[in-house]
Amino acid sequence: MLDCKHNTELLSQSYDRPITLRERIAMRMHLLMCRGCRNFEKQLAFIRKATRELPRKL
């Protein structure tokens, strides 16, 4: 079973490389049960969006 530390690593890597089906299922299973990681997942998406908007905000 994936713990939070490894789950956050995978969530982060999903932005940097293609994630395998097995990894994706493990992440989804973990996220179903873990509110902290669900918040983290949303916040990662927000951080990406914000950083990509940064050039327009300078």
């Binding site: 713990d3 939070c4 530390k5 490894h6 956050t8 690593e9 982060s12 890597q13 932005y15 940097d16 490389r17 873990c34 509110r35 902290g36 990681c37 918040n39 983290f40 949303k42 916040q43 990662l44 927000f46 951080i47 990406r48 969006k49 914000a50 950083t51 990509r52 908007e53 940064l54 050039p55 905000k57 300078l58």
Partner: protein, 187 residues
């Protein structure tokens, strides 16, 4: 075409400096690459197509200049060994021994609205500044300059796995900093 006369270039200068600073975090280096960019822009202005906005065109040149610089630097020996240790401390602080969150992330209130708030962007830039230099550089190459992980590894001369680790730490650090300093989840 009339946009790309030398006087007009200076209007874009401060923007370019801020852009370069975000990636390089060194005023002298930022100054150098922007200077090179402006020179290249003046020399190459015949190639400027009226279809693109002058700023977009200048940023395109600037990105190349930044890349050249980072590439040169990647070949130089790195002295900041302590950096990696600091970053491990962050991960150790965030997670317990059993791999669970020490303090699970809480909801962020109305993050989309933050994007419209000028003060948010100050905090965001400050959080960026607080990241260790090489972490911030890799992160900004990925997210700000929109380079692929492979390109970043190659340019920085590091392994793919190391690249993922660095990018992950950057996101953890940035998340933590925004959480504490903007979304008000101070502990």
């Amino acid at each position: 075409m009339s946009d790309i006369i030398p006087d007009a270039l200076h209007e874009h200068r401060s923007y370019l400096i801020r852009y370069a600073m975000l990636q390089l975090r060194d005023p002298d280096l930022a100054e150098d690459v922007v200077q090179e960019t402006l020179v290249a822009a003046i020399e190459g202005r015949a190639k400027f197509s009226a279809q693109s906005a002058p700023r977009t065109w200048l940023v395109g040149i600037l990105k190349h200049k930044i890349m050249d610089l980072l590439r040169k630097r990647a070949r130089e020996p790195q002295l900041d060994v302590a950096e990696g240790e600091d970053e491990n401390e962050l991960v150790d602080a965030l997670f317990k021994q059993n791999g669970h969150w020490a303090d699970p992330p809480r909801t962020w209130n109305a993050p989309e609205q933050s994007l419209e708030n000028a003060h948010f962007w100050n905090v965001f830039e400050q959080c960026n500044q607080r990241m260790p230099l090489n972490t911030a550089r890799a992160f900004m190459m990925r997210e700000f300059m929109d380079m692929s992980t492979d390109e970043i590894c190659q340019e920085l001369g590091i392994s793919t796995t190391n690249c993922w680790v660095i990018l992950h730490r950057a996101r953890l650090a940035l998340r933590e900093c925004l959480d504490l300093n903007w979304f008000g989840n101070a502990r």
